[in-house]
């Protein structure tokens, strides 16, 4: 495409949008709404995943050993566990530490003193195993149970599963809403482009008779769709950018007790992925919506 043709196509695309102002605005509005919702869901899902990741490191599996096991064997078991890819860290807690912790947490000083030097939890040395991927917890537990010298493995299955399933639920709901909005956006772009085609019917007919190629006739309508898509993506991105900080600080202030333990993602970290995804979706639906319409309405010769 020559530079002249490129600018001509671009100019005509913009002209189409201006001629069909109301429909173009409706299309931009729908894509904006769609990508705004997408952005909100993305914020929630990304932050939630970030929280899960943080939480995962604190959700551990506790491994107890057979009575009378040697220290060497305990070390060997520790090494076997560390070899697993999903294991982030293994922490050894001796029987003495366990007893000290227990006394501190549950017994009064007087009652604790009655035990003297005896350690009723003598066989309670353990490993606390932390995972880097909570979904692997079940497999890891089964693996550790089979290791020779391991008496018992305790794990908090509920926490892991509920975190995962809640995250999946948010994903499914947001996915469904976004798909519906995308379909509406494609439909509206298609209507806008159809209007543009019917307004320019005479011009298109003359173009064909003068010898304009199909490509030349169709390109301004595709450009129209893509411009609508880009504007429809930029508007929510700008709004979301300025909104994010305010919402996060509002939430943390208002619900300080619930969220004090959580850390939210930095805006830069979120937009690194969200901006290109939103732009691609905007351009994609703009292109797709106009392309199918142009193919339907502008028959080849």
């Amino acid at each position: 495409m020559g530079l002249n043709t490129f600018f001509y196509t671009l100019k005509q695309g913009i002209k189409n949008i201006r001629r069909n102002r109301m429909f173009s605005l409706a299309s931009i509005g729908t894509i904006t709404a769609c990508l705004f919702m997408f952005g909100i869901f993305y914020f929630v899902v990304a932050n939630f995943q970030y929280m899960i990741k943080t939480a995962e490191t604190s959700v551990g599996v506790t491994v107890f050993f057979d009575a009378g096991i040697s220290e060497d064997r305990i070390n060997e078991i520790g090494d076997i566990i560390k070899e697993r890819g999903e294991v982030a860290a293994v922490e050894y807690i001796s029987a003495e530490e366990t007893w000290e912790n227990y006394k501190e947490k549950y017994l009064s000083k007087e009652l604790a003193d009655t035990f003297g030097d005896d350690n009723p939890l003598a066989d309670s040395a353990s490993f606390s195993v932390y995972l880097n991927d909570i979904s692997m917890q079940g497999a890891l537990v089964n693996y550790i149970k089979d290791i020779d010298g391991v008496r018992q493995v305790n794990h908090s299955n509920n926490v892991a599963e509920s975190l995962e399933s809640f995250n999946a639920l948010v994903g499914y709901i947001s996915g469904a809403i976004i798909i519906i909005l995308l379909a509406v956006a494609v439909f509206l772009i298609s209507t806008t482009v159809s209007m543009g085609i019917s307004v320019r019917k005479e011009e298109i007919y003359i173009m064909k008779l003068i010898g304009a190629t199909d490509y030349f006739i169709r390109a301004p309508f595709i450009v129209e769709g893509i411009i609508i898509g880009i504007v429809g993506a930029l508007v929510p991105l700008i709004v979301l950018y300025f909104m994010y900080h305010k919402v996060i600080s509002y939430i943390t202030e208002k619900y300080i007790n619930i969220f004090k333990a959580f850390e939210f993602l930095e805006i830069g970290e979120i937009f690194k992925n969200l901006a290109p995804i939103a732009l691609l979706i905007g351009i994609g639906i703009g292109f797709f919506g106009s392309y199918i319409t142009v193919r339907k309405h502008l028959k080849r010769y």
């Binding site: 020559g2 003359i206 173009m207 064909k208 008779l209 003068i210 304009a212 030349f216 010769y301």
Partner: protein, 245 residues
């Protein structure tokens, strides 16, 4: 002089026809055919009138030459090309060698005279520098140098048709098809347009004019092809408007 004229004529005679209709029929639906078994040859540089009443098949012939429609049977050759063999992608390029003007001018109402003519060059990707040079030159030939910035609504019917002619000719087509070019014009403007078409023809462009205008056909003394109910009923050199059509 006589010898050189004869030589030119002889050369013209042996030149392959630029338009050929070979047993062409076209039916739109199951009803009567729009044209039936037309055989016709038009040589390069000819000026031809196609006359006939409404529904005689004149416009169908124009549409076939533009490859807007396909014949039901037979073959159409234009500018040494078998139109049935042209692929979709080749049609645009093919049409660049054919200029068209219509009864209702078909100008773009929201663009001025310059832009209407420039449009024909823009759609085929002509550089802006060429457009800026060639469009005013063509409009000057049509006597419209003073009207470059006018909108079609600000022009008379004759002026609008001259803009349409400029648009049809700016890309230097081999053939000019004029479908009722004087249908919306008064006798004076009609005659002016015919004189312009004659001049264009004298410069080498093959001109085919579909018309109802009996007076003009009789005055021009050109080849006249007469259609009636889809059938070619007469083809006369230096003919006139046949009675009963």
């Amino acid at each position: 002089m006589a010898n050189s004229y004869d030589l030119k004529k002889a050369l013209k005679d042996i030149e392959a026809p630029v338009i050929i209709f070979e047993n062409v029929s076209k039916s739109y639906q199951k009803g009567t055919p729009a044209i039936s078994n037309i055989n016709l040859q038009i040589r390069k540089g000819e000026f031809v009138f196609i006359v006939g009443s409404s529904g005689s098949g004149k416009s169908t012939m124009i549409k076939l030459m533009l490859k807007e429609i396909e014949p039901t049977s037979g073959k159409v050759f234009v500018n040494y090309k078998d139109l049935s063999r042209l692929k979709n992608g080749q049609v645009a390029k093919y049409r660049r060698n054919i200029g068209v003007v219509f009864q209702n001018f078909r100008l773009l109402k929201d663009r001025n005279v310059f832009e209407n003519v420039a449009f024909a060059q823009r759609v085929i990707g002509m550089p802006t520098s060429t457009i800026r040079r060639q469009v005013p030159a063509m409009l000057s030939v049509m006597g419209l140098s003073e009207k470059l910035d006018s909108l079609p609504s600000e022009l008379s019917g004759g002026e609008q048709q001259r803009v349409a002619l400029a648009r049809a000719l700016v890309n230097k087509p081999v053939i000019l098809l004029a479908d009722e070019p004087t249908g919306n014009l008064d006798p004076k403007n009609s005659w002016d347009i015919m004189q312009l078409l004659d001049e264009i023809n004298k410069k080498g462009t093959t001109v085919i004019v579909v018309t109802h205008n009996q007076e003009i056909v009789n005055m021009m003394q050109k080849r006249v092809i007469t259609m009636n109910n889809g059938i070619l009923i007469s083809d006369e050199q230096k003919g006139g408007y046949t009675h009963g059509t």
